[in-house]
Symmetry: C5
Subunit: 283 residues, 5 copies
Amino acid sequence: MRNPDVNETLDSWSILHRLYAFDRRRWAALAADRRAAVAQEAQACFAQLAEDQDHDLAPVQVLGTKGDLLLVHYARGFEALAETEMRVDALALNDYLTPRSSYVSVLELGLYDASAKIHARLRERELTPYSPDWHQAFDELLARQAEGASARLWGRIPRRRYYCFYPMNKRRGEQVNWYALSYDERQALMRDHGTIGRSYHGHVTQVISGSTGFDDWEWGVDLYADDPLTFKHLIYELRFDRASALYAEFGPFTTGLQFSVDELPAFLEASAVPRLRSQPAAV
Amino acid sequence: MRNPDVNETLDSWSILHRLYAFDRRRWAALAADRRAAVAQEAQACFAQLAEDQDHDLAPVQVLGTKGDLLLVHYARGFEALAETEMRVDALALNDYLTPRSSYVSVLELGLYDASAKIHARLRERELTPYSPDWHQAFDELLARQAEGASARLWGRIPRRRYYCFYPMNKRRGEQVNWYALSYDERQALMRDHGTIGRSYHGHVTQVISGSTGFDDWEWGVDLYADDPLTFKHLIYELRFDRASALYAEFGPFTTGLQFSVDELPAFLEASAVPRLRSQPAAV
Amino acid sequence: MRNPDVNETLDSWSILHRLYAFDRRRWAALAADRRAAVAQEAQACFAQLAEDQDHDLAPVQVLGTKGDLLLVHYARGFEALAETEMRVDALALNDYLTPRSSYVSVLELGLYDASAKIHARLRERELTPYSPDWHQAFDELLARQAEGASARLWGRIPRRRYYCFYPMNKRRGEQVNWYALSYDERQALMRDHGTIGRSYHGHVTQVISGSTGFDDWEWGVDLYADDPLTFKHLIYELRFDRASALYAEFGPFTTGLQFSVDELPAFLEASAVPRLRSQPAAV
Amino acid sequence: MRNPDVNETLDSWSILHRLYAFDRRRWAALAADRRAAVAQEAQACFAQLAEDQDHDLAPVQVLGTKGDLLLVHYARGFEALAETEMRVDALALNDYLTPRSSYVSVLELGLYDASAKIHARLRERELTPYSPDWHQAFDELLARQAEGASARLWGRIPRRRYYCFYPMNKRRGEQVNWYALSYDERQALMRDHGTIGRSYHGHVTQVISGSTGFDDWEWGVDLYADDPLTFKHLIYELRFDRASALYAEFGPFTTGLQFSVDELPAFLEASAVPRLRSQPAAV
Amino acid sequence: MRNPDVNETLDSWSILHRLYAFDRRRWAALAADRRAAVAQEAQACFAQLAEDQDHDLAPVQVLGTKGDLLLVHYARGFEALAETEMRVDALALNDYLTPRSSYVSVLELGLYDASAKIHARLRERELTPYSPDWHQAFDELLARQAEGASARLWGRIPRRRYYCFYPMNKRRGEQVNWYALSYDERQALMRDHGTIGRSYHGHVTQVISGSTGFDDWEWGVDLYADDPLTFKHLIYELRFDRASALYAEFGPFTTGLQFSVDELPAFLEASAVPRLRSQPAAV
């Protein structure tokens, strides 16, 4: 708690990623009007979540066979996230979606520079560490950071066409161990790392969420861009940055095309009307 | 046995974690009165286990697709635990639950300081190590520890809303190996580790259980809190503590919302009454 | 972006590999004329994709039980690739194909020598790095590379009988870390690596695609040859090359026999007409 | 063969562990008299195997969801083991058992001290290594060991209530490699390791079987005790022993409660008669 | 190509291993005469493959639950192998076999000593490396090796009762890396390794196949013996040999009992006629 060896974070949206396989065979076997009704119910639910100020939602058409549909959910807190999860599970569409994997995290800003400054300022004020006054002063300085970052913290899901998600850890190897570095070393590495990221400004929107205590990796990274090659170039360049080259461990990558909630029925129908299927398939 | 290189442990509840996927499709296809009867049977069984002084039980709604329902079972000994497992397996509800994973462990207090003191005291008394007298004296001193810790050892499952579970090991790497450290080194590391934990006092309730010989990791950690961000901040801070930074290996994390046994029928119904499902789904 | 520590790449085709198990049991249970119709629909679709100048497609009969049929898709961009994926998913044949795995990547030429030359040339011209003039000059020099390599970049799938695919990474070990090498070291290693590859000229056609940001490995390698032993000898020899011996990590290998789209119906029928199956199999 | 760098082993029972999930849903759907007949057939078969002098069998109720029933089979040789496997597969009960995993091994005594002594004695006798006389003398000395250890080699499955199984390897790391140690170093480490084991004499019965060439780990370890905490304390203490701390790699742990073959019908029925299931479950 | 740092190999049979689970439940539900017809069709096909001079086939009853039946296929080239695979897939029996895993490889002799000698001889002749004359001379010397080894290269599957298969790699660790050793070091290590193997002459028949470029490991090893303990003793002894101790990485082991194609119907029936199954099992 307010450990000077540990950077503070600002936390905002609770986030759930869910990756599904879509059961085309059973979907196509439904009558067309039933398909329309199921799609419409889902679309209405998704639209509400995407427009509500306490939630956000983005559907992604995933490339390859890791899954067909990815849903990115934002909610204000775990209660709202759990309720959203259940609400989507209760959709009739859910019968045609098989979950493949998920990711639970909380949008965060990692404050390396700001944490160091807060600790420095409190030292200047000569407040006794961990005293009530010290905690109150800390609260105030941190709250000021949160206000300044409010737009980034509570931003909505970027509506760009191409999408990439991957979880990651900082390495805890036997010789190369991020968590055994000093605060100053980590701060310097994160600063250089940020420099590369910023050189892609405008080309890509990045959302970092923390998942320590929530899921199997330490962070989730969502990237949104207008050109998918941006992901390839950015992430390849970052691999040579020392913070990544030495200390990053990457989980599985998911890539796809974000679409608007309005297009959900079209997405579902796209694979459901093969010419030959007028006779139901023998099973 | 009473090896001075090995810390003693005090052991209490036998614990079983079981994570299930809930088969909403088949559940929703049941008639409403049948669903009510099945839910009621399960609720009655769970309530008995949660109130019985020889058992405890907590249901958790899991976030994400690792599973839907987690049951934490406590019982006095493996016989009672096995019987409980079978009793829950015999519920009609079990037909709608697909097991995803489980964890078998025993609640423990790891006595680093106390073990060192017991060995020291017996050396002072100049008892011959491993003699009957020595064993008897050891028994008495250990029993005194157990009495003093009885409330922690036999405490019931904390009834806080947010829940996190993960298994962990102490690293046995080629260069960095917990089990090759001296007793004194380990004792010092665990003391520092405990200091961080204690700074979260009141914010989080932690239950450590040992699983050496029972399951695939060495310990299971249950955390209970009123704010899920506590998990994120605590575990992130602990990563920088030397005992964790250098020596901890973490298994998969499960997080969710604990609910009371009374809410079980509502939990099961929440996803079973979609508007569109009045006509049974074509399979 | 145009980091002198990072080699530029030229990027062309968006590529999707999809590996399927073929459900022979359900296929054989179809009436012969239905099988013929389904096969014909798929063949027509595949033929169009294989002949279209904005797409390419190769079907491969896979050896062993990792899968039965591999489809290699080329498309101009992720939009076209996603559309192709959906179009094939909508085939009636898709009901008899169970996806096993996939790979998303973009054909690339890694410019080690050319990137170094471009940076050198811009230094000679004394342009301010990252100035608009510098970027424009960079664009022009890179475009010249792309023109010169156009045939290799936009080449169609090699029509050779034997096929091999594997994904790979450059190692990021604690001591042996490709991404911690200097540009010059990497350039020298890649030059030697290329020398071995070129000694197989004529015997094998190699297609490298980059997947950083798209899939779980950094590169995909497709090899096409007239003799499958070429794969064995080439890859074995490459293991001793320093770039591979020290720095390559290999994913799973898939090998098989490419066939022409015309042969698709024969491929599907080959296993569908067992003599004993005149009576439908009891299930 | 009789390599002085390699300890000899004495080998006896061929052992098969099989872990099954029990399909309660389908079992409970059977008529009660059919369940009784199926259970009785299995019990008769198991009883014969458990009493036969050329076989042994132990059923274990497994804790947690790794499986429900574990069968430990002993047979004299692989022919008998294969035949036993098939015989159990042919039981009607087998329709309700889904195999989860298995382990194939041969009970062994690893002769570190005795092998060294045999080699020493043959050197004293100045027999030419690997000559017929030398081999004959080796045979005789080894046979004498086998006679002396006959009770341990051909002992029957210990009938203690609590059960634990895990497979293990000796580490072959890049710096820490058991197989690169000298004979004398390994002999000394195994001697210390044995000392801890022996301090649990009476509390636990241990069966070591070798699986090099048969299964994915090098050894299987079965532990039998009257108190499950014995497993926890013994294995935890052994982790600090140098042979384990530095060189042991552990596979998955399975724990449970051994029951007698007579109790098989009760075990199967325990979960089959839920009050609510009088109406067959809707599927 | 003919790299003096790389040992040449002689390559012969294309080999496919396929491991299947046998679906006893569905098999037993077939009428007896249908089972007989299906078994006879498979036996006829297997017999043809086992007797044909361009193919070979061995069925193995696998111990444990990794699978029930392993088929080892030999064919002259990938075309023949692919055709064989399809032909077996088209058997009615295939409906009762679920593939678990497979292995694609090519029988090889690794020529460490001979490659060194060929290079030495060509240096003596002072032929310009990689000139047409040099290549022709190389061809001739290699062909002479192949002639001399023809019986080993094109030998048929050894008909011994006990069987063991495992894939393996040479380690490419960060410090311990086979592919970074000099030719001479590797040659010396392989020579010592071969000495142990030869001391088991007569007791075991070993078939090495290379799978670089074909499957996920570098080599497959098939062992055939009259006593299964031979596998245990040989492989255990080899673990201490430096080539294995330091450089070998082992994949999963499969062990079982080879049977003759004539016994296939008996193998299939062994588990299909339980006494209690006269009434068809309720599903």
